[in-house]
């Protein structure tokens, strides 16, 4: 019997179904990657966060190395909503892969307005970047606290009929409370998580390695943080969680799925190897085949955790 069944990679995230659970992380993906592989193999396309007006972003240098990862302080350079609607949307709408648009803003009003303005045909879901540590000083973003999260997600919920994802930050001390606040306010899914605030100094010049002094850490070094938060949020919430942080190998993908993620986003790994997402899809399929698994349900949320009860 088993031989007759084929592996079904499809991933359900609330009401949406993606043909596989692999999608890019916001800010690490653009049309430029189409030079390297066929972007339609991806489960979804997630765009760099856009803001309402045009913005330059942070001073350079905007990136630096660390052991097993990188730190970025790109900021959110943005060409604004008009450019998105007129130039970007038509380009992405031509793909089969569903389009997820990431948005952000400095105030709740602006956020809600942008949310309603990007709710256009061709857009499949909206990812609310309520967590970018570069927008406000010291990493303070809406997602740092349950109350501010609840407030902004409530307003975003009212502003769109599209599926709404809230992207959380690992910089908060209350990840579970923030996740619940997003759920209670009507988010359809959680993206867990954005970058961790860090810093690096050039000892020869005694200057920060980033123009912005501090920046967001990503890559393998932060994977255990994102995995822990994914596990915490998946246990605490009923809405699906999309894992994100340091994913670069098949083992990483499986760790997040086992911890409870319904899908995953891949960021920094694409900078090391632009074809990594396409490879992960193939490797996941091969791995499932070799183990006789036919559905992601046989992997997602299957952690054997005898002592897990002691954690919230």
């Amino acid at each position: 019997m088993r031989d007759l069944q084929t592996v079904d990679l499809s991933a359900r995230v609330g009401a949406l179904t993606f043909k596989n659970p692999i999608m890019p992380a916001s800010g690490t993906f653009s049309e430029d990657l189409a030079d390297v592989f066929d972007l339609d193999v991806l489960g979804a396309h997630v765009l760099k966060t856009i803001m309402h007006g045009t913005r330059t972003g942070n001073p350079t240098p905007r990136v630096c190395d660390m052991q097993a990862g990188m730190i970025n302080a790109i900021g959110i350079p943005s060409k604004g909503i008009d450019y998105f609607r007129d130039e970007m949307l038509p380009y992405w709408a031509a793909f089969n892969a569903p389009l997820v648009v990431s948005i952000s803003a400095h105030s709740v009003d602006e956020f809600a307005q942008l949310c309603s303005e990007v709710s256009l045909p061709g857009v499949t879901a909206i990812e609310a970047n309520i967590s970018c540590p570069n927008i406000e000083a010291d990493g303070n973003a809406f997602a740092m606290r349950p109350d501010t999260t609840h407030e902004v997600v409530t307003r975003l919920r009212a502003a769109t009929d599209l599926p709404l994802w809230a992207k959380l930050t690992p910089n908060t001390g209350e990840p579970v409370e923030v996740a619940r606040a997003a759920q209670d306010a009507g988010a359809d899914a959680l993206v867990v998580a954005n970058t961790m605030l860090g810093m690096s100094i050039d000892i020869d010049t005694r200057r920060p390695r980033l123009g912005n002094v501090m920046g967001g850490m990503s890559g393998p070094a932060v994977k255990p943080i994102a995995l822990r938060m994914t596990y915490q949020c998946a246990r605490a919430c009923d809405i699906p969680v999309i894992g994100c942080g340091g994913i670069s190998t098949l083992e990483d993908v499986l760790e997040f799925l086992i911890a409870g993620a319904s899908a995953v986003q891949v960021g920094t790994a694409t900078f090391q190897s632009p074809t990594v997402m396409a490879r992960l899809i193939t490797e996941l399929e091969d791995w499932m085949t070799s183990r006789g698994l036919i559905s992601l349900d046989q992997i997602i949320n299957t952690l054997e955790a005898p002592n897990a009860g002691v954690f919230k």
Binding site: V36, G57, T60, P61, Q67, P274, T282
Partner: protein
């Protein structure tokens, strides 16, 4: 070193021959050129050898003892030959990544991504070319020598260095028929003040239709000034810290003055070659 399997083939859009690709190369040699510079020569697959002078690769550097370069490092193409399957980089050892490059030995496998970016153009009416380069900038400008010869252009190369022994690539320029002028810091011939009359004399003889340069902001300002005064166009190859090298992350922006406005462009995608007149 990081693990990037390149044997798995990935689906490429119908009809698109990848403009750039990840590829495993093998080291032919990796030898010191002079004090600080090394020449890395690779056996490279054909697929990545449709290069233009001025383009670059993103190199996945091995980890030297006790250091952990994570991001790829951008390096200009110093030499390439599709028929021979050869790709060359001339690099200066400055930090963790280039120290890692220096550990490569003949036969080692080595992952590169490229060719990337927009190379130099050589417009039809640019018949007499003048190239002004210093230090590692020579690595970027060297392939122009072959291009000039192939297109039948006349090339004058002003090679600047701290001292005469430290000039590089002179033989390479001469082998492609370029006239080489060596200037250096020891006798003061490399200062903008000394270069200006030298270049102006050539301009006066009608010997300069276009400039090429790279790196140094003092040279840039000199050439911008001369270019504006005498109506001579030109191109500069620029550098900036990079993450993706493909245009995705916006790490590598620089400011340019275009039509009275200051705009930002990505060095890895719109560049690394830009009009001298727009560079800042």
């Amino acid at each position: 070193m990081n693990h990037i399997p390149t044997t798995v083939s990935v689906p490429v859009p119908q009809g698109l021959r990848p403009r750039c690709a990840e590829a495993t190369c093998f080291v032919r040699s990796n030898t010191p050129v002079n004090g600080e510079y090394r020449l890395l020569t690779l056996d490279a697959p054909e697929a990545i050898l449709d290069c233009q002078p001025g383009q670059f690769f993103q190199l996945l550097c091995p980890q030297p003892d006790g250091e952990h370069p994570f991001l790829r490092r951008p390096m200009s193409i110093y030499g390439y030959d599709k028929a021979e399957g050869r790709l060359e980089f001339l690099y200066k050892v400055t930090g963790a990544g280039t120290r890692g490059l220096a550990t490569l030995r003949a036969g080692d496998a080595f992952n590169v991504l490229g060719p990337l970016g927009q190379g130099f153009s050589m417009q039809d009416d640019w018949q007499n070319l003048m190239l002004v380069a210093r230090g590692v900038g020579l690595a970027t400008l060297a392939p122009l020598a072959r291009m000039a010869r192939e297109k039948g252009r006349k090339l004058t190369a002003i090679c600047s260095a701290r001292s005469p022994e430290l000039t590089m690539s002179v033989d390479l320029f001469e082998s492609y028929g370029a006239e080489v002028i060596i200037v250096h810091d020891k006798d003061g011939s490399s200062t903008p003040e000394a270069l200006r009359p030298l270049i102006e004399a050539r301009i006066a003889k009608g010997d300069v239709d276009a400039f090429y340069t790279c790196g140094s902001s003092r040279l840039l300002r000199l050439l911008q000034d001369l270019g504006e005064t005498h109506g001579i166009p030109g191109e500069i190859a620029m550098e900036q810290q990079m993450a993706c090298g493909l245009g995705m992350c916006q790490a590598c922006v620089r400011s340019f003055r275009v039509g009275g406005r200051v705009i930002q462009r990505r060095v890895c995608r719109e560049g690394p070659v830009f009009p001298i007149s727009e560079a800042m």
